[in-house]
Amino acid sequence: MLPVAARYAGSRVQRVEDPRLLTGQGTFVDDVVRPGMLHACFVRSPLARARILSIDVSRALELDGVAAVFVAGDLNPDVREPWFSTTGKDVPDTPRPPLAEGEVRFVGDPVAVVIARNRYVAEDAADLVDVEFEPLPAFASYTDANGANERIHDGYAANVAGQMGGGNGDKVRAACETAAHVVSETIYQQAYAAVPMETRGLVVEWAGGELTMWAATQASHEVRAVASRLLGLAENRIRVVARDTGGGFGQKTLPLREEMCLMLLARRVPAAVKWIEDRRENLIGAGSARHEHGTATMAFDADARILAVAIDHVQDVGAYPTPWPVGVAAATGLLFPGPYRVPLADWSTTTVFSNTVGRTAYRGPWQYETVAREMMLDIAARRIGIDPVELRRRNMLGADDMPYANPNWMTYDHMAPIQVFDKAIELIDYESFRHDQEVARSEGRYLGIGTSSYVEPTTAAMNHYGSEGATIRIEPSGAVNVYLAGGSTGNSLETAAVQLAADALGADIADVNTIQGDTALTPFGAGTGGSRSGSMIAGAVAVTAQILRERIIAIAAHRLEAAPEDIELADSRASVRGTPAKSLTLEEIARIAYLDLGSLPPDTPAGLEASGRYRAEAPVIWANATHVCTCQVEAETGRVTILRYVVSEDCGPMINPNIVEGQIAGGTVQGIGGALFEHLAYDADGNPVSSTFVDYLMPTMAEVPLIEYGHIETPGPGAGGYKGVGEGGAIGAPPAVINAVADALSPLGVTITRLPLNPAAVVALITEARG
């Protein structure tokens, strides 16, 4: 590929999405209206576990305005092949019936679905569906379920969905025996979730033997693939359209059971059907995340250098996890060594069912490795009696160490963790904070500082994630359209695509538009997930634009009687180097390509349209960051106030710094929420107790700090050197906050091993430490 002058990439270009979104002109799934459209409402289990004795839908069907009521017997038998591209066809996936069959396994488990004139009537009818339940003993807690005789799913003894491990346990134990310092703690993280501001939703319409769906999704093509497999319907009979999607963060990566129901029932109703999940459904039924614990062990030599680390990890996956959760758990073990020089490691992971909502993907699904490691390093530093920053400096990898194979055979490359760390420490002015902290302590105020560093495998090239396609059409007027699978849920992929394409074609950005999210128009692509979009669309645009660039240059050179190598493209104009007066606009070139074919050079095809497919150049692209948080803790009330927050990261060159910083900030604040506020909680009987926004507490503008950024650029092994940055903020933030609180309370002898740190938990920790 020829190097292309970057005029737009790297700068804070205004977003092309904004004018419509700022004025209420976006098109979210709930904005879609179809002729005669009906509305769905699910009847959900009020019990954590029960046998379904009978379902009587007659009263519901009698209600004026009700079109249909479906139960498991109506929909489930139609399922052909329910598998996801991320997992593949051959992995023995966990159960996932569209509607509950015979038994309900969590509060919110869909039992029936009502189709009615509008959502109001559908809810009225849902209240009239009579379901007779026989309660069964439920496992509200995955730790109780783990190893129990009573089974949540047949075929899963001890309620274990799967186990994996590294097999180095003996070696690590031996290393611990001779180590100068061994630190071991069990660290528990509460459940919290993605909670996009737009809930899930889908409109399905079966007409003329074709299924059209308007979806709130991160991956239109995967929704199409799932529907195709589920229904046994050819992919070219299915169209999925996603225009604007109101946040996803992993929750909208894959269709869940409700969406499967909609796909299945589309053929049985006379009109389009809309399902918009309400917020309570979202908080009880759209999936949980985090919720795991692990016993972590770290052995150090007398100089506080790491000799070995180990994590024995157990995660809750609820009743119906999506996707197959066992593989993701392995990443938690494999990444536990993090950005440190660790000669030896062991890990094990156990994935356990419970009678709670299923685990779904959430921004950095293996985040627990960073939570456990970074909390442990601070605990270790206090036990050893070394400054936590110094402990990290002694052990952290730098650019000179790359490539570096971690003890779990993950080969890191294209990273400079210690340089990123040092930048963060410099930005926060660590020494002067320590001084302020001393002064504050002498006045009885508790200030603290915490850091968190991680490495993140972005842009993983597994399965369908390994390639990305683009089609670029320069229309006869010279207007440019870039077609990409997309999947933007706020991550600005339209703007990024337009920036990249304008640069690649030498076009004025105002001449470039992009069309994304519609499977009927766009090339196959895996959507957003795994922090892959920046790199992959950059590659797709680059390989595709290159075809057109050569053609544009050929036409211009021929018409301007210059050598192709002397043609320059900029501002939608091709000109002859050194003779700027000799030039053609993109519009003139497009006119030749489509309308004045006689002026084309010989051997140059007509038209200016090309498709290309980029294949990832590396199995993963490593990104990394260090978060530093300072806080004040009010011991009387347990209130934590964040004072400063620094994120220093290396996501390679930035396509658009605004977008990068926006991703970091959004992820970071989700992580702050997870550390201090958010808890998707259940009571002892398995009833969800945070099913509204009155109880599920996300940070507001009043709770969040200003976030300061440091950027280190180590180009990655892919298009433009770009790395992923979508998930990192959510991974790095919780331990930085927790470590800051722990540091603040260290004079009181507090050790933090359970989350979240809401005010009551902080006061309890202090009380406990004071004895």
């Binding site: 804070r12 209420g24 976006g26 904005d31 109101g246 917020r279 926006g662």
Partner: protein, 160 residues
């Protein structure tokens, strides 16, 4: 349960409809008026995505019934600017990356419009406190706060 006839001015235009009393103002705006910029993020009055101006006051349109707004003047996000003519506050949000997915954005735009009208020169803590009734899950509020501060320091041309 009888349906009722109501009339209100929405974005300056008279709207008449026969509605069920239980129809929320938010659903009335979205479904009867086809003004889908008013978003429903929670339907229980916490997230603020459905904020509209009712006789000039910012209110949650999910927490009132359309029949209660009979005779009122309602302004939705669509009434504050258009893609070709953004309001100064909308411009500031664009300039400062004050939105990502855009779902919560209409509620913020309406809330900020009312807040800055009543508090033309707020301190940063007042901004934070005033906007704590609007939830955003994408931006971490960084760009939103910057946008509001910019809209304060860069006042719009004086209007009558």
């Amino acid at each position: 349960m009888a349906e009722m006839e109501i009339e209100m001015k929405v974005n300056g235009r008279s709207r008449r409809a026969v509605v069920e009393p239980r129809l929320t103002l938010a659903d009335f705006l979205r479904e009867e008026c086809h003004l889908t910029g008013t978003h429903l993020g929670c339907e229980h009055g916490v997230c603020g995505a459905c904020t509209v101006l009712l006789d000039g006051d910012a209110v949650r349109s999910c927490l009132m019934f359309a029949v209660q707004a009979d005779g009122a003047q309602v302004t939705t996000v669509e009434g504050l600017g258009s893609p070709d003519a953004l309001s100064p506050i909308q411009e500031a949000f664009r300039d400062h990356h004050g939105l990502q997915c855009g779902f919560c954005t209409p509620g913020f735009i309406v809330s900020v419009t009312a807040f800055l009208r009543d508090h033309p020169a707020p301190m940063v803590e007042e901004i934070r406190s005033a906007l704590s009734g609007n939830l955003c899950r994408c931006t971490g509020y960084q760009g939103i706060l910057a946008a509001v501060q910019a809209a304060v320091s860069d006042p719009a041309p004086t209007t009558g």
